[in-house]
């Protein structure tokens, strides 16, 4: 920038470091937000964008570093401090009371003098809405609103409190393209009014469309910033994914490869009628690890759930090829159509899923039960009569405990109280013990330290060598490139490409991940 003297900083974060236990979420980050600009904060999932912004909004407190607002050093230790400094953050999960009207939500928590005068507040809110072009019905209850209306209420709430600096955490993730356009118009209006904005996103075309400047984070580190007019999708992708890092994950060549699971034209809709997967076609082979890459929420979860029979399928086929392709084999050993089967029957075929959701315990494990109890969740149908067979699950629990080095006082210790990594070992260990024909894992190493991650990688590779078709949904591109044999890239519920992991590079994956509908680069 040439006009350095005229640029004023609304916010300057200097040498910010934030750790959670051993994990460094932000490392020595220095970031500036100029007055009256829209800054995009770009980065992959887990690159520390939200953590960094939460330190501005008072949810977290930095371990090291200093924040300046309007060139004055400040301490932000609570959301209220942030409000007082004119910083407002719109979180991904809206903080609104469902049975209140928009007005009630907006004035909630404000200690204004005098009695509660909703009419006067409504007038002030209407002014704000007209100035920036929000379309909000103030007397509508939140639960009757669409997602974009709720978001508008959140933004108005922040403006009503007099915020000059707005932080929007992935505001477009839940919006339709038309709603996104509307939001961008509002954002430009706010900028014209002198507000400074930060938008957290990983959608490149939005970055290019709305922002003035882009700052890129990768794995908790600040990579750099560029003026948007000097950037292109390609240059931003390069900054975002960085150079390949060698991890030295053991990857033997696949053996005895033949199709195991064939997915053809899979299309699903969620309960709101939004298309989550669109015409997904691929084959998972035995003796091979198929990686699935994509930005979070691109349909990974839906895909795995659809295959395991937990998600309603509106179109497409899922064919399961058993071990022997003998024509004379009994019916349950022939090629089978999995669509329409119930989850139990799919499981019987040997399709196993170890999905590690964000809250880890939400799916697959019962927090208050011990390892043995959780093993029994898979085997309770096996017993005879009314009594449960505790012996086998206990043996299995003991085996997992020893073989995977699960840190727990006993197999009856509630899994809720184990550390995240150990919970994951239990979950993955149990699924592997079922001797599946197809093993699907999602985010199997999320939140794990490096050693435990390698244990899981090796487990998966072992399974692959046994002839299992392994599907690995992952976030870290370096891992995907070194662990998997082939990588399928999902983007917005569509397959944007299937690449050979041995020859592909990060740049290629990054491009595929951010390219909507596999269309041109300048989407």
């Amino acid at each position: 920038m040439t006009a350095l003297e005229t640029v004023q900083n609304a916010i300057r974060m200097e040498h910010i470091t934030k750790r959670f236990g051993n994990v460094v979420a932000n490392h020595d980050i220095t970031l500036e937000l100029h007055k009256g600009e829209i800054l995009s904060l770009l980065g992959e999932n887990g690159s520390g964008k939200t953590t960094l912004m939460n330190m501005l909004s008072g949810i977290y407190y930095s371990d090291e570093g200093q924040i300046y607002v309007n060139d004055k050093p400040v301490t932000i230790s609570s959301p209220k401090d942030a409000f007082d400094l004119g910083i407002g953050m719109i979180h991904q999960h809206f903080k609104l009371v469902d049975v209140f009207t928009a007005t009630e939500n907006i004035v909630l928590g404000l200690e204004e003098p005098g009695r509660l005068d909703l009419k006067k507040a409504s007038q002030k809110i209407t002014e704000i809405c007209q100035r920036y072009g929000f379309e909000v019905d103030l007397n509508q209850k939140i639960y009757e609103m669409s997602v974009s209306q709720k978001q508008a209420v959140e933004i108005v709430k922040v403006l009503y409190r007099g915020a000059d600096i707005l932080i929007l955490d992935e505001p477009t993730a839940v919006l339709t393209p038309q709603e996104t356009d509307k939001l961008f118009t509002v954002m430009r209006n706010m900028k014209a009014d002198g507000k400074s904005l930060i938008i957290i996103t990983h959608k490149l075309h939005e970055v290019l469309e709305v922002s003035d400047r882009v700052a890129v984070l990768r794995k908790g580190e600040y990579i750099g910033d560029v003026a948007t007019r000097d950037a292109s999708q390609q240059s931003l992708t390069d900054m975002m994914v960085g150079h390949a890092v060698s991890l030295n994950i053991n990857r033997p060549d696949p053996v005895n490869v033949h199709p195991r699971l064939e997915v053809k034209g899979l299309t699903v809709y969620d309960e709101l009628g939004v298309k989550r997967l669109s015409d997904v076609t691929f084959t998972a082979n035995s003796g091979e690890i198929l990686g699935i890459a994509g930005i979070a929420g691109s349909g990974q979860r839906e895909l795995l759930e659809a295959i395991s029979g937990l998600y309603p399928i509106s179109a497409g086929n899922i064919l399961f090829h058993p071990e022997s392709e003998d024509e004379k084999a009994p019916a349950d050993q022939k090629v089978r159509e999995l669509v329409g089967l119930d989850p139990m029957a799919i499981r019987k075929c040997g399709v196993s899923m170890a999905f590690v959701p964000e809250d880890r315990l939400g799916m697959g494990l019962v927090g208050s039960m011990g390892m043995t109890g959780n093993m029994m969740l898979r085997s309770w149908r096996k017993g005879k009569g009314a009594f449960l067979n505790r012996k086998e699950p206990e043996t299995l629990a003991n085996r997992i405990w020893k073989e995977l080095d699960v840190v727990t006082p006993s197999v009856s210790f509630p899994v809720r109280r184990m550390s995240g990594g150990n919970v994951q070992k239990v979950l993955v260990g149990r699924e592997i013990a079922q001797e599946p024909a197809v093993l699907m894992t999602a985010y199997a190493v999320r939140g794990l330290d490096i050693n435990t991650s390698y244990t899981i990688y090796n487990l998966l590779t072992e399974e692959k060598m046994k002839g299992v078709a392994v599907v690995y949904v992952g976030e870290d591109l370096d891992v995907l490139l070194e662990l998997c044999d082939r990588i399928l890239v999902l983007c917005g519920g569509q397959v944007s490409g299937i690449v050979d992991a041995r020859t592909a590079d990060k740049r290629q994956l990054g491009t595929l991940m951010t390219r909507v509908g596999g269309g041109s680069v300048h989407a």
């Binding site: 959301p79 469902d98 049975v99 209140f100 909630l108 928590g109 204004e112 009695r115 509660l116």
Partner: protein, 330 residues
Amino acid sequence: MFDLVSFIPRAVMQGIPLLYGSTGEILTEKSGNLNLGIPGVMYVGGICGVIGSFFYEQAVPAESMNAFLAVGIPMACSLLGSLLMGLLYSFLTITLRANQNVTGLALTTFGVGVGNFFGGSLIKLTNSEVPSIALSATSAYFSKSLPFAGSLGWFGQVFLSYGFLAYLAVIIAIVASYILKRTRVGLQLRAVGESPATADAAGINVTRYKYTATCIGSMIAGLGGLYYVMDYACGVWSNNAFGDRGWLAIALVIFTIWRPNVSILASILFGGFYILYLYIPSGLDLSVKELYKMIPYVVTLVVLIIVSMRKKREHQPPASLGLPYFREER
């Protein structure tokens, strides 16, 4: 013919303890605390009032009793007793995050036990022949109605024949309704009960609101116990006479869909249901009487079914009712 003029006052007198109980419970539940200890709190409110007035009556001969003290001492004792119960519940569920249902039920059992223990002790102190204590001097002050009420015929009997606590109950219910609906404090209290995380993010002190609402709610409910002994039962305490009125108060909360102002009429309706069997010729058939006594509960069930079927969000219980709030858990 059905004698409305004598039926209505009796229904009202039955209803007032329920009105206190339900108003208190509504305030508590609006903060997200499901205090199932209300029957115990009301019981404690009653016995504490009895203890206060017992010692005052013992210390001062009936002729020289001061009207202000005769009313003030039992009331203060009752409020203090139910406040302690409310604090206990709040400490367990808010600070220690104990399970609300378990805590509430334990508090009910505890409250009834405390009441019966002190009730029994006092009865022993009086060396009475019958298992009850009569505090008729104090009761006279509590149940004093306006002097001209008797001369106004049916109007006086239906509207003016009650002690001051009955009118206080109605006033408290109206004030509670107004606060919940129209004031900033009410808005914030409702936000705490609906979504404590949202309230917290908006800068509202969730813990303070929960404590305050639960304790004030308990104190209001405790007055229901006091009214029952001092006015309705004419100052006669006998163990377990309070019956299931506490549970009826909780049923009333659901029946009125968390609205204290509706509770004013609804509590009288429930009171009427409660004594309906006395007014309907059922002969000596005891089982039929028991069936009539079921009516309030049946009506509550019907309301629950209707409300659940209509699925209107405003008619649902506060969204975080019964759930503890951890700030760190997001």
